[in-house]
Subunit: 477 residues, 2 copies
């Protein structure tokens, strides 16, 4: 094995974004890496030659406050101080920011500007429905802040999600100001040859760089990266091996060694990668022993591909049905899911839409009558409060779900009044900065508890891990 | 995602050998699958459309007798009875059969004929050193038995292991009668673009089908398969998902779905694959709960690629050095390994050679003088008793290791007298068939104990798992 490390002759070397400090630990150990575990290795990571380090956003913000008794803003500032050369990246859910509902524009604008002020260079922003209206405020704020604006496509498959659909979406994102575009495949369903075709077309259609983000869940991710690189993708997302594979990304070292023998050898320091891997191995062991690393996340789950329903949805379904003593309805619910999805205009099956579609399918089967019971979230979705569905919803389905209620046609956040002033007053002196106010707006209860602990001199990391999880579906009938 | 299942238009569909019943459980759960866990799913597996099911040989024979109180021959017969359409395949270590030393020709000949008589269709035979003289007796017996003779290359990397080396070796194998050739990459070090080049050249050089066998250990295996398929490989080895990935093979379903979108769509029944996966999932869970599935086998270990030393060797080394209180010598031993390997003519780092090279490297570093202490096995290796090293050993190294002792030039098994008669007498009435005699010759103590249990009416599966492991290196100084 001869390892060619990006020689002078390499044209267009593939770039690598390292995800271990965000998606890697979010996927494998429920976002539990502590700042003190992150800081000691950052100077080495800074010297590898990564395109970027994904270190913030996603579930990290919530996890810091909820489980680690850490201030997420302070984490970001500490990371920034150690990382002098490499770009820091965060993941943002568009108008949802890092929470689970739409926030008013003043919150979105301020949150983004504060993120950049505290150290972020690249903001990857996406909307679960790919409704670009839900990205507009974010894009504007990112551009004003001077950061790199990466717009991400929520990748999914359906009869409306054709290559043409993604070409049109990418062009729209470029028009809106995207500095790069990411194909974001949360479920790990983008197959290698589909990735090849998609990337080829997107490279022809837009002039900004294309990045690919996928997950190893279904056992195809490394092949998908390989074919995407062959098709000309500019950047791929990988995780250092102890936080790689399973439900996380392919391993950085494996992709770097593989691609080093190709025509677009990456310019990364492999010996530093070994040192970084050695650093994280005992940390992974610690989380394995404590049970936070569930060994099942390392299993390969190709049923995501064969059933065309995300793996996480399948296990959720099983436990929902088990809870109802209706395990025998599993196959029936499984075939109801694509029908509900079609009724609802083919939303990508990502959080929270996957849970919503799954729950509706369960109700449709268990009640024996489709849409007799509809969760509040589905009603709001049909009313347009999440944004525009990828395909129109038929009048018949609308009638069944919301009767004669109106569907909004404007941008959902246009309905929201400014929120900062009100919440700032509400939290009062417990918040000591605008960053605190933003934490409070996103996660009122956990942020408040964190502020109180801070005031009472309770040290960081003393927080008991409550095991509390976030529920997205309130089943009101 | 549209799944094309091998249409009439597909030219040269890729074939799939399913490894879960041999390599899959050998790699992930220490070869502990019981016959009673295998039998209920065989009829479904028989209908999938696999090229072959690898079900026997490798460590399964030893494990049946040693840990499961099962007769390996009886397992084979039971499997054969359920699998009426698909070919059954076994793995054989050439003149070592399924044991760890060279056996006389009468044993090799009889063992192979009995394997075929009991149900085997395809025998994959290899020699750790790629010395084809160690395959000659096996090939002759396989041909005489009417089975398919697949010769496997022990894949490794070194300055002598060039593509030309493998071309020459493959041609030699074809000349000797190979019906197909397997590139057998036990360590998972065959990189995707190297696989592409190697397969391309072998397809030009020989006319028999080429199969590829690798392991997911280092996180590149699925990519290696993909590039090999693009280069024209005929068959790849995969494992159904619950026994896939980690130190096992890529998942069957993941490869089938991926390749179904390419030009060589496999002709397999995906819905049966789902059912087979569902069958094995709770079995995997059982072994996970009992601790036999060590969660670490599912981790991706790319250091095999970056250090160019197999992952298993690295962990062995660490524990050897820890035992000696010499962990600080790790880096030194790590750089001694390639030197020892070069001194010894670049043996592939596979069992037992990897353990031998590793131990010698440890001795060389800990004693402060290279080759002051040499294990008996290394001496025998240098004397030619394992076969011919891939590259010549220098006179200087020979002198240091065996002094003026002679190096044999003939086929090692030429030195061995027929063994069946003697051992048959030795075991006497405890053996009730020639199959028993063969079991006794390969694993005298465990086979004898098994026969005694059988005589005393101790039922199958009552054997206590002793946790006993096989040791290859006897350190006599
Ligand atoms: Co992700
Ligand atoms: Co193997």
């Amino acid at each position: 094995l001869v390892i060619f490390l990006g020689s002078d002759k390499t044209v267009n070397p593939i770039k690598i974004t390292e995800t271990s400090l965000r998606d890697g630990h979010q996927s494998l150990i429920a976002t539990r890496l502590r700042t003190e575990e992150i800081l000691p290795i950052l100077e080495k990571m800074d010297r590898v030659g990564y395109h970027a380090l994904e270190v913030w956003g996603g579930a990290t913000f919530d996890a810091c406050l909820r489980f680690l008794n850490e201030d997420p803003w302070e984490r970001l500032r500490k990371i920034r101080r150690k990382v002098k050369n490499t770009k820091l990246q965060m993941l943002l859910r568009g108008q949802n920011l890092l929470g689970y509902k739409h926030y008013a524009d003043d919150v979105v604008d301020t949150f983004i500007k504060k993120s950049v002020e505290n150290g972020i260079d690249i903001i990857r922003v996406f909307d679960a429905l790919n409704d670009t209206r839900n990205l507009e405020t974010s894009i504007k704020a990112i551009k004003e802040s001077g950061a790199h604006c990466q717009c991400a496509i929520s990748y999914t498959t359906s009869k409306v999600h054709t290559i043409e659909y993604y070409v049109k979406l990418s062009k729209k994102m470029e028009e809106l100001g995207a500095d790069s575009i990411c194909i974001k495949d949360m479920a790990g369903i983008l197959t290698p040859y589909s990735a090849y075709k998609l990337v080829k077309r997107l490279k022809e259609a837009v002039s900004v760089p294309i990045e690919l983000h996928t997950h190893s869940t279904s056992g195809i991710a490394s092949m998908t990266y390989l074919k995407a690189v062959e098709a000309g993708v500019d950047i791929i997302d990988t995780a250092i091996s102890p936080f790689a594979e399973g439900t996380s990304q392919p391993a950085t070292e494996s992709m770097v060694v593989t691609l080093s023998e190709g025509e677009r050898a990456p310019e990364l320091n492999i010996s530093l990668l070994n040192e970084i891997s050695d650093y994280f191995k005992p940390i992974k062991e610690k989380y394995r022993e404590s049970g936070i690393l569930n060994p099942k996340v390392m299993d390969v789950e190709p049923n995501t591909l064969t059933y065309q329903v995300p793996g996480g949805m399948l296990s959720n379904l099983l436990s929902q049905l088990k809870g109802q003593g209706a395990l025998d309805k599993y196959e029936e619910v499984l075939s109801e899911i694509p029908r509900v999805r079609e009724d609802l205009g083919f939303p990508p099956l990502v959080t929270p839409l996957s849970q919503m579609v799954g729950t509706q399918a369960v109700f449709n089967v268990l009640t024996g009558e489709r849409y007799r019971i509809v969760p509040k979230e589905i009603k709001e979705y049909v009313k347009g409060l999440y944004g525009m569905p990828p395909a129109p919803i038929s009048d018949d389905i609308k009638q069944k779900i919301i009767g004669d209620e109106k569907v909004i046609t404007q941008r959902p956040a246009d309905l929201l009044e400014p929120e900062i002033g009100k919440h700032s007053k509400e939290i009062g002196d417990l918040a000591t900065s605008m960053e605190d106010v933003l934490s409070y707006i996103l996660f009122p209860q956990v942020a408040k508890k964190f502020f109180e602990n801070r005031l009472n001199g309770k040290a960081e990391n003393e927080n008991e891990d409550s095991g509390e999880t976030v529920h997205y579906i309130t089943v009101t009938m």
